[in-house]
């Protein structure tokens, strides 16, 4: 297997965008292609979850290739729920590692704000089991809420811990010019003050409005290349050192232990094993905090902290910038936003930015090893990646 490097990265502002989906994907892609210094690619993968349903457009990758005049490159769209982004990175990695392609563009894009919030919530809910979950009115916030209640009961996580994740990540987004949320928040405002219940109402008890990521439009892109091509292009050498992917039962209630996220555990283990490193070697991590509880649980399942102690590490500031393992320093899904198909690629964008030392005021000093966890379904399809900066 050949080594695979990230030679270029690009991103759009995550917010409500008044551009067609193809232009959002293309804009991020152009930034990545310009960053890498390439005008031709062998293959394009476009990660997207909702274009047929939300934007009434199919065959998105063919449209993106045309928009970027990358013909006759191969192209395919990859739909893998909220883990579409990292699944596309995996496909691009396999294409280069196999020797089949030398230069692959991986883009992720979503335009969810084309429909109203109720329709967007319903569109994401279609990833649940059609007969055993969806028909009951289950939404992703409902799944996360039922999970949170069990976790609170078992490990002593409180609404205050969840609010601490909200505050950490939303305020971190202020240092990321591309992030959706650009408004500082405090524990006082979302939990303690008399107005907190108005500012921060329940979405699905015990989860509140500020426990959930915003519904965002946006795109992100990477250019993946072989080692020979990476050295020729002369960009900072960031190598994808490991990828792991795992699945779990479609219906959440079928899992033996309902507070386990076994697919997260296995995907992370496999990525670390492939890279030949341990969780303790990671300098900066992007976890999939679509809901605040997920950052806490994933920080345990990927091996940063022992089971049931993620919220204690959070209390001590270990997951903040300057802590032992800074998590979501660019805002995470909570602060940056969550255009579902783009998220896995945006996580890699943040890690490569950090490993290049381009993080500005949110830079993790001396970051050399990075980690991403892209969480699809409610934990039934997870892709984890490790990245390393080579000198």
């Amino acid at each position: 297997m050949r080594d695979v490097y990230v030679a270029g990265i690009g991103i759009t502002t995550f917010t409500r965008l008044e551009y067609p989906l193809v232009e959002i994907a293309s804009y991020a892609s152009m930034m990545a292609l310009r960053d890498a210094g390439v005008t031709e690619v062998d293959q394009v993968y476009v990660a997207n979850m909702g274009s047929p349903r939300v934007n009434h457009q199919t065959a998105l990758a063919s449209a993106v290739v045309d928009s970027l005049s990358l013909m006759p490159a191969g192209a395919a769209a990859i739909e893998n729920g909220p883990a579409s982004g990292a699944a596309a990175i995996k496909a691009g990695f396999q294409a280069v590692a196999s020797g089949m392609d030398d230069v692959v563009l991986v883009a992720g894009a979503e335009r969810m704000r084309e429909v109203n919030n109720l329709e967007a919530t319903d569109f994401v809910a279609t990833l649940t089991h059609p007969l055993a979950e969806y028909i009951y009115g289950v939404t992703l916030p409902a799944h996360a809420a039922m999970f949170t209640r069990l976790y609170m009961e078992r490990y002593g996580v409180t609404e205050r811990h969840l609010a601490m994740v909200s505050v950490k990540n939303q305020n971190a987004a202020l240092a990321n010019e591309w992030a959706h949320l650009q408004q500082p928040i405090t524990i006082e405002g979302i939990l303690d003050s008399p107005e907190a219940m108005t500012n921060n109402p329940y979405v699905a008890e015990p989860l509140r409005f500020f426990d959930a990521c915003p519904v965002s439009d946006g795109g992100a892109a990477l250019v993946l290349v072989s080692e020979e091509k990476a050295r020729e292009l002369g960009r900072p050498l960031v190598r994808i050192s490991g990828i792991g992917q795992a699945t779990d039962t479609h219906a959440v209630f079928e899992r033996d232990e309902p507070t386990d996220l076994l697919a997260v555990r296995k995907a992370a283990n496999d990525a670390f094993a492939m890279a030949g490193i341990t969780p303790q070697d990671v300098d900066v991590a992007e976890l999939h905090d679509a809901f605040t509880i997920l950052e806490i649980v994933e920080s345990e399942e990927v091996g940063f902290f022992p089971r049931g102690e993620g919220h204690l590490a959070l209390e001590k500031g270990e997951t903040a910038l300057g802590g032992t393992i800074p998590i979501n320093v660019g805002g995470g899904l909570k602060g940056r936003g969550h255009p579902v198909g783009a998220t896995g690629v945006a996580q890699a964008w943040e890690i490569v930015t950090q490993l290049r030392g381009d993080g500005g005021t949110r830079q993790v000093e001396g970051a050399r090893v990075g980690f991403t966890c892209n969480f699809g379904g409610f934990g039934n399809n997870v892709v984890c990646c490790t990245f390393v900066r080579e000198s």
Binding site: L118, T121, D122, A142, M146, V203, H250, P258
Partner: protein, 115 residues
């Protein structure tokens, strides 16, 4: 009319499945249609629950109770709750009723109440 929701029992190893899948999760037998159907029990205890406030567009109610129930035979299922003050571990009893209405369709599922 008496409606049921069914578990699927593998004819080779006896493992019960809900919801339906094509291949047994336990013995991986891949012969076609090798499951018997057995109605799911109606009684059980509440594993976890939520009250959803921002519902999909089809629901014209303010909030909707949803929970996971461990049935008396050890299997679990998700259902709607018509319970004012749900608590983890409480005994519940289910009835098959309409859980979602669309313009020309009604979908049936399990609705749990306090036992």
């Amino acid at each position: 009319m008496d409606r049921n929701i069914y578990a699927y029992v593998c004819r080779r190893c006896g493992a019960s499945h809900y919801p339906f899948r094509m291949v047994c999760k336990e013995c991986k037998q891949n012969d076609f249609f090798e499951f018997d159907t057995v109605p799911l029990p109606r009684t059980g205890s509440l594993v976890t629950w939520t009250r959803v406030h921002n519902l999909p567009a089809q629901y014209e109610v303010a909030t909707l109770g949803i929970g996971i129930v461990e049935l008396e035979n050890g299997m679990r299922m998700l259902g709607q709750l018509e319970i004012d003050e749900p608590e983890i571990g409480m005994a519940v009893v289910g009835e098959v009723d309409v859980v979602r209405r669309e313009p020309y369709d009604s979908y049936y599922g399990m609705v749990f109440r306090a036992a």
